[in-house]
Amino acid sequence: MSKPMTEKLPAQRLMSCGEVSCEVLVNPIPRPEPEPIRITLKPKVPRVTLLDHKKPNSLAIMQFARQILQERGIEVSERILQKDDASTAMPAALLASLSQEPGLVLCGVSD
């Protein structure tokens, strides 16, 4: 796999020091303001929420995953959430709600 993004982050600021004078280079790269949502890899509570993005077989895979997890005694939300389409962003309200979820959110299983 590719290197994690943290190794690749481009410089925020470059300074040119030629022989005659110094000049700041104009940063061409737009950055998120405020900071983008941070992903927490370790959930705070052992609970799983499933989100289907409607690619083919995604819902079937999620239903199967829910069954296996439940058999292993893990708490899984009964309702599988859905977003309209794999190629469009999640509605803001859904994103805001999921960003408060202390358990694990599993979304966008690809076919």
Binding site: K8, P10, G18, E23, V26, R31, S87
Partner: protein
């Protein structure tokens, strides 16, 4: 002599301010004239990518244009192009991250082609080795990259990608048989325009011995429906078809643009059950995919997903099919003002 600029180029290369090739360092003394030509103030917001909480400012667009090697004289094209890329309809973040390895395909049409001396004949679909084609195409890919991976937010997952992700710009002939490209998207024939779509690379279509327009279209249609076309996926965004002059001489005799589109829509079809058999349709299929077993199936979801561009040199009997990325279904066409 002073090699300060060379050091700055290396600094850009080492710091992620590049697409992998040498850039012109974005000194203020170069970015300012570009901004002026673009008609923007440094802090003007050119576009917003809401999902990423990103506002793209004019200064960043101008710096990217300088870095790609564009001249301020290209600004009327670049202004419309930046607005097109940042139009939410285009879904630029999706284009950058997809496993589809898509590029921002740029199509320039109308009087601007001759006015700014774009190459629209030899190697018009790429590698014409002319500055304006190469750098305008590169600018579009760099905006995509800098808004996505460049900002440290997204990572590109292109399974295989294609070379157009460095630069992919097609300029249409100033004189066309079927009318300028942008008239397919509602602009007036006399306008100049820049149009973008997310795409894979061009699939070349050779045919040396057909003597009819239908033979050429059958060849193009067969390419559109080979089993590997992404368009058989449950989503489809269609195709750009580029017809070069030697093929156009035959096709225009028998077909208007509308008739050619209708011909391909009706004839470039395959048995749905064969597509299932080779693994191109999910079982069970999604409702959205509208799968009808036993019927002949088109790789187009709507006939409007097919458009034609006229470009290329005489002397060779090639045309091309450019498959569009399925996750950005909108073609964004902007008029170029202030030429």
């Amino acid at each position: 002599m002073s090699h300060g600029v060379l050091d700055d180029i290396e600094k850009c290369m080492d710091s992620g301010w590049t697409d992998g090739l040498p850039v012109i360092p974005p000194y203020g003394s170069l970015v300012d004239p570009m901004l002026e030509a673009l008609g923007w103030q440094a802090s003007d917001v050119v576009g917003v990518i809401a999902e990423q909480s990103i506002k793209v400012r004019a200064e960043q667009v101008a710096a990217t244009a300088v870095m790609a090697g564009c001249k301020p004289g290209y600004a009327p094209v670049l202004r419309a192009l930046a607005q097109a890329i940042l139009d939410p309809l285009f879904n630029v973040s999706g284009v950058e991250v997809t496993t589809g390895g898509a590029s921002v395909l740029v199509i320039v049409s109308g009087p601007v082609v001759a006015a700014l001396d774009f190459e629209h004949e030899a190697n018009a679909m790429g590698g014409a080795n002319r500055r304006i084609n190469a750098t305008v195409g590169r600018f579009a890919q760099m905006v995509r990259l800098f808004c996505g991976r460049g900002g440290g937010v997204l990572e590109s997952h292109g399974t295989i990608g294609h070379p157009g992700r460095l630069s992919f710009c097609i300029a249409e002939h100033p004189e066309t048989a079927w009318g300028p490209y942008h008239t397919q998207f509602g602009l007036a024939a006399e306008a100049s325009a820049v149009t973008i779509m997310a795409s894979e690379g061009p699939n070349s279509c050779n045919n040396h011995y057909s003597s009819t327009g239908a033979g050429i279209l059958d060849t193009i249609g067969d390419c559109m429906m080979h089993y590997g076309q992404t368009a058989w996926y449950y989503r489809s965004s269609g195709f750009l078809v580029a017809i070069a002059p030697d093929h156009m001489d035959l096709v225009k005799r028998d077909f208007t643009r509308e008739a050619a589109r209708q011909y391909l829509y009706e004839n470039a079809r395959r048995q749905t059950d064969d597509l299932v058999k080779v693994g191109r349709i999910a079982i069970p299929p999604l409702e959205f995919a509208e799968v009808e077993f036993g019927a002949m199936r088109t790789p187009l979801k709507f006939i409007e997903q097919l458009s034609f561009v006229e470009c290329g040199a005489t002397g060779g009997r090639f045309s091309a099919v450019v498959p569009r990325w399925v996750g950005s279904r909108n073609v964004v066409c902007k008029q170029i003002e202030g030429l």
